[in-house]
Structures are given as C-alpha cells and as structure tokens.
Symmetry: C2
C-alpha cells in the first residue's frame, strides 16, 4: 500500500498481523473484536487503522494471506520431496500432526465466511493456495511415476485434486467433531490408491 514506512512501522504491522492470527486461531473470527487484537498486540486503535486504513476487513485479509503462507510452509520440506513411499508417509504424518495441533478453529475457513468470499483478493488467496498445494502433490505423484513406483497411466491431476479434497474435508470434519479419523482415512486411502496402481499392472 503506502510505501513510506519506517523499520518500526513494518515491525508494528507484522506484530499486528501475527498477533491477530493468534487470537483468531484461538477464539475464531466471529468472536474476535478489534479490541481483542489491540490487547494481544499492544497497539492502539489508531495504529490498527493506520496500517489497515480500510479497517477490519483489510486486516482479516492480511491475516488470511499470512495463514495461507503458513499452511504450505508447515508441510515443508516434505511436501517438496514426495519422491518415495517413505517421503509420502512422512508428509502424511506431518499433515496429521499439524492439524491435530492447530486448535479447533480453521483460520482460513472462518476468515472467508466473515470477509465474504467475493471480495477481490479473498477468493484469490484460497484459489492460489489450493493451486500451489495441488501442484506440489501432482509433482510428487509424477516423481513416483518417474521412479517407476506408479503407473504412468494414472491421471495425476485428478487424483491430486481428490487427495487435496480429502485433506480439506478431513480437516473440516475434524474441526466440527474433534476427531481426526477422517483426515487420516483420506490421506491413507489416497496413498493406497497410488500404491494400487503399480507400473506393471495389466
């Protein structure tokens, strides 16, 4: 936005976004006020509006961007090296672990319900995230094909899309029910599906 910021300014802005992300993860968007964020980040009202002139929505969008980055970052380096069965397994464990840890509020999901997904920018964030994520999964599957572990006939893009959907749904269900069974089932069945398509299949 405005480029005229000092070091201190950038630091404050970052502090606000990170602090807001924490609060939102703990309380959920619907129950978080600007004063909660103020409290957590040790800032004043004017600071909030100084860095996010358009108000709460702009701040929430910034948090969404922040959280979206975290999602993929938390899966690295495994997500980037899905070229053997072991690496897939390791990645699976990291995903399960990450989402079991993360309280029971999905920051991204709720963020978009609040901001409204039509907002320019809002939709783009999710779309981009999904695109990246699916791309990395597909790359991993192609690596398996290259290494002769999976049939070259496999429709990688479709299976990657399905796996991604399974993860999303698994997380959603976990958020609602508190049970990670579905997430694990989606991951394991997804990987099984790859295993069930060996290159020497009839």
């Amino acid at each position: 936005m405005s480029e005229a910021v000092t070091v201190k300014g950038r630091a404050t802005r970052a502090r606000i976004v990170e602090g807001a992300a924490e609060v939102l993860r703990e309380q959920g968007v619907a129950f978080t006020t600007l004063d909660d964020i103020r409290g957590r980040t040790g800032t004043s009202k004017s600071q909030l509006f100084h860095y996010f002139p358009a108000g709460k929505d702009e701040l929430l969008l910034a948090v969404a961007r922040f959280e979206a980055d975290r999602v993929l970052a938390d899966q690295q380096p495994h997500l980037g090296r899905l070229d053997s069965w072991e690496s897939w397994q390791q990645w699976r464990d990291v995903v399960v672990d990450r989402y079991e840890r993360q309280g029971d509020h999905c920051p991204l999901a709720s963020l978009f319900l609040q901001v409204g997904r039509d907002r320019p920018g809002a939709r783009a964030i999710v779309t981009e995230l999904m695109h990246q994520w699916q791309g990395q999964l597909a790359r991993g599957m192609r690596a398996l094909q290259k290494n002769g572990l999976v049939s070259p006939a496999l429709d990688v893009d479709r299976v990657a899309a399905a796996l991604l959907a399974g993860i999303q749904g698994g997380v959603t269900i976990m958020m609602s029910t508190g049970d990670s069974t579905h997430l694990k089932a989606a991951l394991d069945t997804g990987i099984d599906h790859l295993r069930a398509a060996p290159p020497d299949a009839a």
Copy 2:
C-alpha cells in the same frame, strides 16, 4: 420444547426456520440479522423470541438441524440403494448437482462458526450427520461386496470415511473457489478406488 402449541404456532415456527434457512443460504450467517429473517418470514420480533426463547443461537441451531436433515434427504433415494455401479454413478451425479445448485454459502459450515461448535447440540448435529452419511456409504460398499463386485478384503469403514472427507473437502473448495472440479475428482476417484478392488484380485 414447550408442548403447548397450536397448529398455527407450529406453522409459524416452521415458516421461521425455513425462511431463516433461505436467508442464511443467500447471505451467509455473518451478514444476516434477525431483522432480515423477520423481513423474509413476515414475523415480528416477539414471535422470534416466542418460538426461540434463547434467542438467535437457538434459532440458528434449529436451522442447522433443518439443513442437516436436508443434506441426506436430498441424496435419496440413491444414497439408500448403492448396490450397483449404476446406482453409485447416479448418486454421484445427484451430489454434484445438489452442491452446484446450492449458492456459495454452506449453511452448516458457517452456522457452526457462528454458534460455536462447543455448544451442546451443535457438535452433536454435525457428528450425527457425518455418522449417518458415512454409514450409508459403508452400507453401499458392503452391498457391492455382497454382490461380488468388490473384494471382501476392502476396509469398508476406512474407505467410506475417506470418501466422505473427499466430498466435504470438495464442497469446501467449491464454496471458496467456485469450481466443482475437486468435488467431482473426489467422487470419481473414490468410486474408482472401489472398482480397482475386484473380488478376484490376487
């Protein structure tokens, strides 16, 4: 709750729930006020609180129950007769169609973000819905096994859980991006997974 209701009373209550469900589907929970619901249902404030003494949350919960019932009902009769490949395919089409129609607000997802999933009752509704849904999928898979179309060795419960997760995630992604590719991929890959496990497999 209170049993002393007249025919008119029941009708009004139902009108409120159904009208509220409509508005919520269109605008999303975060942007819907009691006055919106009043407007749509042609009721007064006092009626709202007469039928839902605990206020908005109680009303939202009633809507959630209503929507949860609709979810499974909309998939019938197909969901109840998943005993052949054709019936699975038909069911798949119905699911895709249903969710493509339904605007871009998932009533249930947003409802719980607002009410808070810890509320007694809230969690139960989702859990119960997922349980029923998964149960029907598993029953269908067992029917396939019985009919000699799928290996009896298949871990039906896990695969059903994974398929359910895929559907949820597919819907979630569609809500955010407006694209039903993932939902279709999840359904098709899920069914493929069944097809890939014939009873005469080595």
